[in-house]
Amino acid sequence: MILDTRYLILRLGQAVLVLLLAFTAAFILLSLIPGDGVTARFADPALGLSNDQIAEIRAATAADDSWFGKYLTSLTGFLTGDFGYSVQTGAAVSTIIAAALPSTAVLAASGFVTALVLAVIIAVFATFGPAPGPTAKVRRVLDSVPSLFISIPVFWLGILLIQVFSFQLGLVSVVDPGPAEALVLPTLTVAVPLSAPIAQVLIRSITEVQASGFVKVTTAKGASELWILVHTVARNAVLPGLTIIGLVFGELVAGAVVTETVFGRNGIGLITAQAVTHRDNPILLAVVVIATFGYAIINLAVDLLYPVIDVRLLTKRSAASAGTALRSHDEPTRRAMTATAASVGVDLDWNDETKEKNS
């Protein structure tokens, strides 16, 4: 099972291109359009800087270069880990971010894992068991849980959790918590809305696999429902789940920004919020680029992992006739559609018609 090197290089090149374009867009948005940040900040007479000093700062920050010069300076800076200086404090952006990153990484990781566990639990219980009978009600309820979870404003959820667990029940202290205790509520705040799109996609793909011909054949061989879930459904249902994991990264970032603000946790999210308030564009630019980099890496990993799990993509023989070639070309689109659907929190089968045609 050796991956096609051509595919690897193509996919890698694509990721680099997207990253470069994203950097360019962010640079135009945050560095070029706002204009001369140095003048805006340091020419204030109240600061009492002399013209020479201002000129010195201008030279140091390359403020007088042409836009392309600035772009190149900034790009090489990013490639070497030099993200410039904060307009607000004057500290190096890289230092600020390095200080804040670990705490956010911990929150993101724990939030993501919790969301994954939640999603799998919801999805399995929403699809398992015979349709009629006592489990049907449970399934119906669980089936609508993702819809509910995605409608919750994240910031409100954070406040609500503090309200209930700290003030009403007194279970978790928010005043001076230990490191683990401090992580519990923020993790939940991140995880609950994040679990919704994952659960949505899992429910949908499990249902789809359960309705497929090969599950019927396996049932006809005498397999129990649990056997089928473990041996047949799980692996097939994981494929779309993998794609959504790549795509919820954006939600994870949003969750971190809001959660850190609500809980006052020092991290990338809080820095970002403060940077926006103070229009500290260099910090914002660095955060955007780093987050986009994270997104690109995760999706690259997902795309490279995909053919390993889905053996059909390894051989090209499936594209034997013109018709199937067209269909397999549209497969990424189809995956993206499912993810899009899930990200707005509802079970959408955009592919209704095609499915009917194929059946």
Binding site: Q14, T272, V287, M337
Partner: protein, 288 residues
């Protein structure tokens, strides 16, 4: 000699019955309740004065931080303003912003998607790479960056949120266009002498638009959430104008003493978002 039956042929009346039945099956009590919730929200936005007689921005001499009562359904805030009144008056800001956001995403995204899906080739590749770029920047960071450039305010926040929605509309519109572009009836339309433009307008657009419109309805819900998030962070409407995110942000300082200032407005937002999802989902089921 052989006799072959064919499958899957409904007569005309059958098909009609199925369609009507599907529409009826989709309208559940939950859908009706959602419709009511949305109607109320729209009425709040248009005629807030009908629902409350308090002033949203001036508490007068009402005591601060009153618990919910028949007089003050959601209690009063730190300056004695009626919280329910502020939520009612906030509807216009939040709903208008959501509509602007979805409008931006719908118009720009659908145009890009239709062009990419029908022209294919080079144009398709370039447009889709641009959409990839839009998708690769986490939505909240993209909207924050745009807000920083445009300045704070409800409409600017709405535009920022709308830009993040472009990618989804473009992807959906493209996949619809691709699917319809390869359908037999489009081939037949070209065979009937149609030009690219006439086929686009007469066949591709009408047939691809309904899923896009259901996505638009669904997006209203997430736009409300995203805009209230920006409002909560303080980048939306400046106080004292009521906006849902801002209302909750203000109530946050009194979590310990006045739970109603955050919990109740939050529930309202959640109910409205849930309702738009339900309606959007129903629309999709009926039109597909």
């Amino acid at each position: 000699m052989s006799i072959v039956f064919t499958r899957g042929q409904g007569t005309g009346t059958d098909t009609r019955r199925v369609r009507g039945g599907r529409a009826r099956a989709a309208i559940t009590p939950a859908t009706i309740a959602s419709g009511l919730v949305l109607l109320i929200a729209i009425a709040w936005a248009l005629f807030p004065g009908l629902f409350t007689h308090f002033d949203p921005n001036d508490g007068g001499d009402t005591p601060a931080l009153l618990a919910p009562s028949l007089e003050h359904w959601f209690g009063t805030d730190q300056t004695g303003r009626d919280a329910f009144t502020r939520v009612v008056y906030g509807a216009s800001q939040s709903l208008l912003a959501a509509l602007v956001a979805v409008g931006v995403g719908l118009i720009v995204g659908t145009t890009i998607g239709l062009i990419a899906g029908t022209r294919r080739g080079f144009v398709d590749d370039v447009l889709m790479r641009l959409i990839d770029v839009l998708l690769s920047i986490p939505a909240i960071l993209l909207s924050l960056s745009i807000v920083v450039v445009l300045g704070f305010g409800t409409i600017n926040a709405a535009i920022a949120v709308g830009v993040t929605a472009i990618a989804q509309f473009a992807r959906l519109a493209r996949s619809q266009a691709v699917q319809i572009n390869t359908s037999d009836y489009v081939a037949a339309a070209y065979g009937s002498g149609g030009t690219f433009f006439s086929v686009l307008v007469r066949h591709i657009l009408p047939n691809s638009i309904s899923p896009v419109l259901s996505l638009a309805v669904l997006q209203v819900g997430s736009a409300i959430l995203q805009i209230s998030t920006l409002g909560f962070l303080g980048y939306g409407t400046p106080p004292p104008t009521p906006e849902w995110g801002l209302i909750i942000a203000e109530g946050r300082n009194f979590v310990a003493t006045a739970w109603w200032l955050t919990v109740l407005p939050g529930l309202v937002v959640m109910a409205i978002v849930l309702a738009t999802h339900q309606i959007g989902n129903t629309l999709r089921k009926v039109t597909s």
